[in-house]
Symmetry: C2
């Protein structure tokens, strides 16, 4: 952990009780003057750190900005996802950054955030608007020992992790629309893009990209999608603490990924089914060049969607664009 | 087509009859002096171009070197695979080059050759020895409109194309060992590596890598693999014309890929089954963390291998390392 991360971590640990400059100096193995210097730099970044003779330093407030040291200071030491965090003020797409890291052989777990993306993308190369400072635009590198046909487990895992993070951070309970959209009242507030590099029977890497509309206002959405989209702030009626949500998200992803790696995917799939509002509905799915109509029945054990078509056949779908056609409760 | 490619193409077309400098100048829209200049440069590269007052220029011999203009001059104009050809004296791996082109959005069909590779690879990152000037080390970029689960069709297609190219160029008939090895008498002379970039239901790109040991001698193989490997030259008893084989290979790949794209995969699969010596044998396959033993029965309609296990179950395998256990003819 860097000195700044360790300072923030210590201040978070002691809360209102505070930490003295002497303790921090001892902790970090640096001089008190150096501690003072780091504190001054953190203040310039917007961290409201009060100093008093009795308590020492107390963290009173944090800025609405993503900083890797700050995110790291909020996470447990034994995590895999978010073991390394990079934050860009702006980038083309965090998925691009992580894809490059993947091909450079970097270990799994690195997480990349951007305050803004100029070429954020969703499925099939569609544009994902990523205005500065208003959302969480991030990607994580995974190297699961899964057969490529089981990669669907990771989309399910990610959707559950994001829903849990939103719920734990804000109290809001989003709906999941298969395969990887997060909605409130049918309006999308977040999406997940999973990109694979693989051989036929071996996943080399997975780039898991997540886009969450946290503090966007209606005017921040292009007119064409304004009625189809929402943000956590719109649903909550107040701004959401983005850095706190970012840390919660990494924490939930780490925990859910651990479940996938230790053979506990079934419980994630169950929770997904509970949170998913696609099941039990008549839907139309476009996947590749096919269009399938039927009732969304359940997930299979790999996380693919099982759709009962009009002919009574059960179709197994791994990805696609879903349109709800109306409710036919099972 | 570049001037050099057009010159070589014209000379190939007219053979011993020859082409005059005047015709070439007219064809290319350049002066006769410029034609002479290009001919001189080609001669320096090793192209044996004779000139006589009566016949004009005649191509008498070509060097054992890969040049993109030369390869292009041997191919039909309406091809997709090999529409653009790049040749490197040395590179890390042609799959790396093509992977980068893929991510830069280049159209499918570009083919990259290297005379030598410093980091040639096979499946699962294994090293593939690629000594200078003795083999064909190449990769092609594909963007098929196939579901990721149908990507196996491309490995089958490639194996058939390579086998046809070897047979048409040299008369030798290689065996195919599932999924993508080419052998003579159980000794490997070539392999195919398929790498995908994909979303869950959408292939973004495929890098098809092919390594063919054309003119290697026993001493060119590391001692550890000497008894497991062979080359076309060893099997034939004489050197093989590499550039001619390279062009034949691109031509066969283009034709076979066309079949895949137009729904004619079944015929390729049938030919594959005829050429494959894995079928009907008892085998053990390691794929991922699983080990499966049984009899290799057939390919399914996507090109995956169907193995009948001891319990009578039919297992569908998309990739793995096969060991022959002994013959049990069906």
């Amino acid at each position: 952990m860097s000195p700044d991360a360790r300072i923030l971590s210590a201040l978070r640990r002691t809360g209102d009780v505070g930490t003295s400059g002497a303790e921090l100096a001892r902790d970090l193995g640096i001089s008190r003057a150096a501690v003072w210097s780091r504190i001054e730099e953190l203040r310039k970044l917007g961290y409201d750190i009060a100093a008093s003779p009795h308590q020492g330093y107390v963290l009173r407030g944090t800025p609405d900005r993503l900083h890797s040291d700050d995110l790291i200071s909020r996470l447990p030491a034994d995590r895999i996802l978010g073991r390394e965090i990079q934050v860009f003020l702006e980038t083309s797409s965090t998925n691009d950054i992580v894809d490059k890291l993947a091909r450079d052989g970097v270990e799994e777990g690195v997480a990349v955030f951007a305050e803004a993306q100029s070429q954020g993308r969703g499925r099939l190369g569609r544009r994902w608007e990523s205005p500065a400072g208003k959302g969480l635009w991030m990607s994580v590198l995974l190297r699961p020992s899964l057969h490529p046909s089981a990669a669907t487990q990771l989309t399910v895992m990610a959707a559950v992790a994001v829903a849990r993070a939103i719920q734990n951070s804000t109290g809001l309970v989003p709906d999941i629309k298969w395969p990887n959209d997060l909605l409130f009242h049918g309006r999308k507030c977040g999406g997940i893009l999973l990109e694979l590099g693989a051989e036929l029977d071996h996943i080399r890497h997975i780039v898991l990209g997540i886009g969450l509309d946290v503090n966007l206002h209606a005017s921040d959405f292009p007119p064409a999608v304004r009625s189809l989209a929402t943000s956590l702030a719109s649903e909550l009626g107040r701004s959401v603490d983005r850095p706190a949500l970012a840390a919660q998200l990494l924490s939930e992803l780490d925990s859910a990924y651990r479940d996938v790696r230790t053979g506990r995917f079934a419980a994630l799939a169950d929770e997904w089914e509970q949170r998913c509002t696609t099941l039990g509905h008549r839907i139309s799915i476009r996947t590749g060049s096919r269009e399938i109509t039927g009732t969304a029945e359940s997930l299979d054990e790999q996380g693919a969607l099982l759709v009962r078509t009009e002919h009574g056949r059960l179709e197994r779908i791994v990805g696609g664009d879903v349109t709800l056609l109306g409710t036919s409760p099972l």
